[in-house]
Subunit: 153 residues, 2 copies
């Protein structure tokens, strides 16, 4: 399963690079659908991944405010700052964890660790699909969503 996280991180970093070409105004422009803007989408996927992976580990959530991350550079630094810890945890993943129940502060739902892991993976891919439509509208070629051909396997 960690390979799909590695895929998401590689794609995410390519999005950060691509977004350097986009003006701050366009990055923050409110758009129809998704969570509203290109930059907020990137912030959101970083935040959601960290929250759930911490939740799986029984660690308290870290609350971050988008107001403090209004540039690609800042969102990228947030993403980088959390990745090592997430990666280290995922490298210790064992099949025994799959069916363990997780309780988190932000929802009453009770989900298994395996279910949450897949939710986090799909969540990011879904939002990157949304970005691909928005940047085409800006005349840019979106980041490839291909899993094959990335040397991940």
């Amino acid at each position: 399963m960690i390979n799909l996280f590695r895929y998401n991180w590689m794609v995410r970093d390519e999005w950060f690079e691509l977004c350097k070409q986009i003006s701050s105004e366009e990055l923050l422009r409110n758009r129809i659908g998704g969570v509203g803007s290109i930059l907020y989408t990137l912030f959101h996927i970083v935040d959601v991944e960290n929250s759930w992976i911490r939740g799986i580990q029984g660690k308290p959530d870290i609350q971050v405010q988008f107001d403090n991350y209004k540039s690609i550079q800042q969102v990228r630094e947030l993403s980088d700052s959390w990745r090592t810890e997430i990666q280290l945890f995922l490298e210790t993943w064992k099949n025994d964890f799959e069916h363990e129940i997780v309780i988190v502060s932000w929802t009453e739902g009770r989900y298994t660790k395996g279910e949450i892991l897949r939710h986090v993976i799909a969540h990011e891919i879904h939002h990157m699909g949304q970005l691909s439509i928005w940047v085409r509208d800006l005349g840019l070629q979106p980041v490839s969503a291909n899993v094959i051909g990335r040397g991940l396997f």
Copy 2:
């Protein structure tokens, strides 16, 4: 891994249902980004999944022409007609398959079976993200992309 296929199939069927509310003209309208239209996106993900899963099994590709599937009902029937065979195959999946190399007719690239399986999963999620933007533009609430809360685990 099969759980993420089950997720995709559930989401796909919900999209087929939702699309009943959309006129044929809007379903076929050429849009910026993605593969071009809502209906062609659904046709494309069904086609790509079947091609790769057959490729993994060493079966010849089945060529289908979008010209013959110009309604939601026809694309859904195509999706349904292939699903049982795909599901039966995925239920026999063994970890030993992960690193076996696959050769297919439509690309010179050589990928492992595990890599292709994840590619097919991500491919569909990515395209469904694109649909979610397009249908919001039509004033509709898109299908939820949540993996959690679907009773899949």
